[in-house]
Every structure is written in C-alpha cells, then in structure tokens.
Symmetry: C2
Subunit: 449 residues, 2 copies
C-alpha cells in the first residue's frame, strides 16, 4: 500500500465520531469565515461575470445556491460562483506549510453538493474535514517547487474540493482512488497572471471547486481515473513538482488534524505585513502611545517581506496599499485597524495615514528570516518624538493557530465583511451567525444562507 | 512584439478570404470525420456518463446540441459531451508533429458556440481554421518533453478550443491575448491514466473543449487573463515543458496552413500498425495473393512500434487486438479491412485471422527508425507457401497529408462509423454527408446534425 492508498483508506474510514470536538468547532469557525468572505465580494468585479456565466450556461433554478445573489442553480454552478466569490477580498483562510487556501475550494464545492443531496450539517462537517485533511497534505506533498509556478489553491484545490464532495457522497476506498485520479488530471492554475494583475485568481478557485465537484459526481456515476495520480510516473508530482515528498500524504492521519493548523486572516493586507502590524499595535497599547508621538518605525522582517512589499514605494491603488508596509502600519497606528473598510476609505486619502507611512522602513532581520516560513515573527523598533527607543515582539501573528481568533472576534470580522459589501444588514448577519453556530444540528442546508 | 503577440495579431486579422480553397475544403473533410467519430461512440462507455452529467448540471434544453442524443443544452455542456464522444473510438484526426488531435477539441467547442450564436457555416470554418492553426503551433511550441507527461490534446486542446470560439465571437488582438491567458491557466491533463486504462481520455477532451469555450465566453464578458501565458516565467512552458521553442508559435503564419498537415485515421488500430498494414495490402493486391498463400510476414519497423506493440502477445480484448501487429495484419490479409466493425466482430473470434496473426513478426529497421517520427515508413517482407520472398514499401501511410483520404473514402469511413454504433441509417448518413459538403453555404448550424 502506497501513501496515496493509505490516504484513500483514511478518507473512506473517517467517521464523524473520530473527529475531536475542537476540530469540529474550528471547522464551524472556518465555515463562518468563508461565508463572510463570499458575501463580502457581492457586486465586485469579477464576481458578476461568474454569475452571468452560470445564468447563461446553467439551469434557471436548482437546489444549490449562489451566495452572492441567493439564486438557485445546479451544484456545478453554485460551486463555480461561490469559489470565485469567496477568494476575492482575500480574507479567507490559509494553511501555512501547504500554502493552500482550503475554505474557498472545499466549502464552495461541498455546500453546493450538500444542498442538492439534502445532507445535514454533520455530514457537511465530516466531508469538509476530509477535504481539509487531504488537501493540506497533498499541498505539502507537492512542495515549494510546485508553488513557484503553480497556484496551489487552484491545482491542489481541485483535489481538496473533490475529496470533500466524495466524502459527502459516502465514497469507499476504491472510489476515493478513482476520485483522486479524476480530480488530479484536471488540476491547473499558473501564477503568470500576477504580473498583469489579471482576474485569474477567481477563475482558479471557481474552477477548482467546480471541477472537484465534477470529479466526484462523475466518479460516483462510474468514471474511472488513474490509480496513482499523485505519485505515478506520469502523475501530478512527475509533471508539476521537483521536490515532492510522499511521506507528507499520510502524515499522522487520524492524530494530526491539519484543519486546526489553518490560519484566519485578520488584517485585510498582504500577510507579510501582519507580524509587524501586530507588534506595533501591541507596543502602542503597552506604552499608551498615540500615533503623533511616534517619529520612526523600523520593522525587522524576513527577506520575503522585502521582496514582496519593497516594490511599493507610494501606493496609488487600494490593492497597492495592502502591499505597503507603511500604509498598513499607518492604518494600524492612526485608526487601530486595517480592515477592508479602512483600506477602501482611508488608506489613500487620510493625511495622517500617509504621514505615518513615511516614517516606516523595513530591515532584514536574520533571526526573523531564519524562522520563516514555519514561523512569522513580528519585530518593530519605535523611536518616539521625545527620543525614546522602544521595541516589541510578536511570535505568532493574530489569526495563526496559536493566536487564533475567538468566536467574538470571528463574529466581528464576519459582520465587517458583510458591511463592506452591504450584502446583509447587521441583524441579518447576526441571525446568520446564530444559524452557523448551530451548524452541526442542521438537518438540511438549503436555507442556511 | 513577442511570438504570442504575433500569433494573437494573426488570429485577430485572419479573414475567410485569406484561407486557400484547399484548406477550406480540408476543413470540411475534417469536420465530417469529426461528426462521424462522435456519432460512432453513441451508447459506448463512458459517453453516457457525460450525457447524464450535462442533464444533471445543465439546462433542460438549449440552442446547442449533443450529437450522440440530439438533445439541446447550453454551449458549455454541448462542448463537454461532444468533446468526450468524438475521441472515444479513436478514429478522429491527428497532427503528427504537434501530437495534437485538433478536431475533438476545436469542433466540439466551436459548433456549440456557433449554434447558440446563430453563426453560419463560413463563420464556423474561419473559426475552426484559427483553432487548428493556433493549437497545432502551441502543441509544437510545448515540445516532446511536454507530451511525455501531459496529454497535449487536453492541455493545448483547451487553447485550441478557446481560440476557435474566440474567432467565432470576433475577438480583436487584445481579447486574444486575454483569451490565451484564460485558457492556458486552465490547461490540464496527465498521461498517468494510461497505466490503468482509465476513462480520463474522454474527460480530457470533454474538459478541453468545454473549458476553452468557458474561457472565450468569459473573456468576451471582460475577464482578463495573463498576457504572456505561453512564454512567461510562470506560464505554461515554464511549468510544463523543458524544450519549448517560441519560434514555433508564429511559424509561417498565413503561408503555412497547419490544418492541411492533419492526418485522417484510416485503420481502426494503433497508428504504429498502419504503415505495415498498408504495405501488406499493397503487396497482396500487386501480387494477387490470397491470405492462405502466405507463410510468413516480417514487418520492418521503428523502435517505437516495438515498444508499444511488443507488449501484446496474444490479444484477449478488442482494445489489445488494435495493438497487436499480427491481429491487424490478419484482418487486412483475410478481410481486406481493419475497421471498427472488423475489430469488434472478427479480431478475436475468426480462426483465419488468428492463424495469420501467428505468422507475423516485427524487426527493427534502421532506415525506418531513422525516418520516424517525421515519416512513418511501411516495410514488409512476405514469404509465400510456394517459397517466394516478396517485399513492399509504403512511404506515407493512408490518411497522412501526402496520401490523404479522398471524399469518397471519407464518406465510406463516415458511413462505417455511423453503422458501427447504429446512430444513423445509411440514408440518414448520406443526407448528413450532403449537408456537410454544403457547410460553407449553411446560414445557420442548429439543425445541421
């Protein structure tokens, strides 16, 4: 039995009762966060393009829902539209070592299928956990060489989505083997679009969710797939990785819960700014400092932060502001928050933010750099206007597993996401939160959202 | 301007009047051959699985037709089902140097779009030529290293299908640039399934046609894509090829018509058997020999033929018989034909075929091997029962561009394909032939097939 077969056995055998309570609760947390991320993109380009495509190519109605417009369609198009929508504002979850955003692909596919099949909240949770556990391990298996060219959430995301739907449909080992083959041979998504700021990121997550669902439905109907798509000589790793490590595929199955290692995004900026933002906020609160008392901020960072953030000198778009260490720290210092609304309304136009931005610099810190990417350390050195030098350190940014968001913090983020797009009133948002915290007792999911 | 941009310019500027008459006529030939290939798979696994998927996920009716059941659906699902169906019996066309089967992806996508948009036969032909010219050049660009792991008709096929639909929709240069990005980032398909004889080949052509169409419709609606998906640092060649050659992308655009280099499949067997089959048939006709007068046949072949065909000693399935040099030559010698019906009804059960099979051997021929793959040379040496040694040589197998099928031969093949599945009566088939030979005068294509 190879690692792929052991993974398939684990997926087939996994029962709801096997999953520890904290993992189930975290899965509900991640689900809430995903719903918020999807609703936050309502009306924002290119989400409406996917809605129109679904309308043009799909049925006029159906048992699965597109979150951004509430309309019914077939599961394929619900997965497509929800996959596009839930990654757009970049507030959805991230698993660090696999560099996979699991929610946008797993929940988009599995909710669509669950609505069509009349499945319960528990069945959704079990299936989602299977999708996270498989997807994260396959992402780790594909390695860093894969991520250099390929968008892992697109490629591996297809497999994660497929596994979640396969579990929902009650697949046995043999079906999981075929399912991995049918999903893996559809895996696609290249980073080239980043250079042009093109819309492919949404196409990638949309297609990963929808193609994963397609793989599961057609496998259920009898379509056979390659039996060794991950490790085989003409398989995924052979074609798209030079440092694949098969031991990651079945790494501590049943005892390590990779889902619980998944991070929430707290600030609405590039993740490379988060450690420093948290350290600055901590320092200002600890010292009771006002932003006008700060003369200079040196952030001590890893090289990757300099590579990515160093390109933005003076941000001229909201997107660029999210990649400007100075603008992010300016929002944090002046407004205490760097969420979607602050970026949209204040990052480019607030003179105090812009003034603070010019006080911020980055310096390479060997200790921070050595710890990366396993740990994202935050280090800031602040010089005050009255001549003091203060420093602060954060060893785990807010949202990471060891510093995760509490339910009240998740609820507040959720309501902010809904307010950003105006998709729901606060009262509607609160009612939705209440229903999602009861997810495991829901008998059907058709009217959940 | 790089090669991709020159290709986009050519595609945008191409006019119907630019295309030489023989290329248009050959395009009609290829279209007829494609319709026959699709109809031949009616009812054969896994075609009905794709029909059921379209029924489950798509609209109940629509302007585009699934060839195997005549039902209407949206263009996305018509492309999906026709893409799956038209590659199944492996009688569709092949372009040698790109190792691309263009018809199954190009026509599946473009006919579906043309039916929805009310386009004419001339518009279909122009768009199809664009798809062939681009797809073949992109296949050559990706090189042999790509084909070792990836199924080129799946990966590059997505781009070929997209280009054809984009031309049908009247794209300009800028749209073609975005279209290539949107199609290229969806390109997927691994050979791993071959090891298990799994159903992925149909999934690949189905998805290539449908995803290419998706890319074109969404590009038309404003979805942007990577501007250098083929040649870029994180693009298709960077991720999936080690011998890409950008000069192939714009190789003699407007003077070399790659469509006209495309081969028809004549015998229903593995193509490695075709040169020897043609040579034997030629020898028997030339000498007036009956199969019982033959004591021994030595086929002088290239190494690739030995690698692929050498595995089958005694065929036990119809599929294996297509990969048995002895069984193929047995059908040719005893029945004068090795088509789908002979394989199904005679290859395993006819004692004379089986007896002849045991008289056939393969030997490596250095001259044949050196010419491959540019030329597929056929060489046989026959020993007769009365002790004579006879030989014959064919330098271009039947169906290749220099030895192409005449319209009567194409019509006969078409009617055989229809008879194989029973999809149409001979009279219906003849009426269909008559309509397809009038393709360039058709005002709409909805009721063509």
């Amino acid at each position: 039995m190879n690692a792929t077969q052991r993974l398939a056995r684990f997926l087939a055998d996994l029962q709801y009762a096997d999953i520890p309570e904290p993992v189930l609760a975290r899965c509900e947390d991640l689900f809430l966060d995903w719903v918020g991320s999807a609703l936050a993109s309502q009306g924002a380009h290119p989400t409406p393009l996917f809605e129109r495509y679904a309308q043009r190519m799909g049925p006029g109605d159906g048992p699965a829902r597109m979150l951004v417009n509430g309309r019914g369609t077939s599961p394929y198009f619900a997965a497509l539209v929800n996959g596009a929508a839930s990654h757009l504002v970049e507030q959805d979850d991230l698993h660090n070592s696999s560099v996979l955003h699991p929610a946008t692909v797993v929940f988009s596919a599995v909710l669509a299928a669950a609505q069509e099949r009349g499945k319960s909240g528990r069945e959704l949770l079990l299936a989602s956990v299977a999708g996270y556990e498989a997807g994260i391990r396959i992402g780790e298996f594909m390695g860093r060489s894969h991520y250099r060219i390929f968008h892992t959430t697109a490629t591996v995301g297809t497999l994660a989505a497929a596994v979640a739907v396969g579990k929902l449909l009650g697949f046995d080992r043999e079906q999981f083997i075929n399912l991995l083959g049918n999903a893996g041979t559809q895996a696609a998504g290249l980073w080239e679009f980043l250079r042009d700021a093109a819309d492919s990121k949404q196409l990638h997550t949309a297609k990963a969710a929808a193609d994963g669902l397609l793989a599961a439905y057609m496998t259920e109907d009898g379509l056979t797939g390659a039996r060794n798509i991950l490790e085989g000589e003409q398989g995924l790793a052979a074609g798209m990785s030079s440092d694949a490590d098969a031991s990651r595929l079945d790494d501590r199955l049943g005892s390590r819960w990779a889902l619980a290692e998944t991070s929430f995004k707290f600030h609405a900026s590039c993740r490379h700014t988060h450690p420093a933002a948290d350290a600055l906020l901590h320092l200002m609160q600890r010292e009771g400092l006002h932003h006008e008392q700060i003369a200079k901020v040196v952030t001590r960072v890893h090289q990757g932060a300099i590579d990515v953030l160093g390109r933005v000198v003076k941000p001229s778009t909201v997107h660029q502001a999210k990649f400007s260490m100075g603008a992010v720290l300016g929002l944090i210092a002046v407004h205490g928050s760097a969420q979607l609304i602050e970026f949209r309304d204040l990052a480019l136009t607030d003179a105090a933010v812009d003034g603070f931005r010019q006080k911020v610099s980055m310096e390479l810190d060997p200790e921070v750099d050595a710890a990366y990417p396993a740990r994202w350390l935050g280090r800031v050195i602040v010089t005050t206007t009255d001549g003091r030098t203060l420093s602060a350190a954060i060893d785990e940014p807010k949202g990471d597993p060891g510093n995760t968001l509490s339910r009240p913090e998740l609820e507040a983020k959720f309501l902010r996401l809904l307010a950003f797009s105006g998709a729901r009133t606060p009262a509607e948002g609160q009612a939705l939160i209440d229903r999602i915290w009861q997810l495991r007792d829901a008998q059907t999911l058709t009217d959940l959202i």
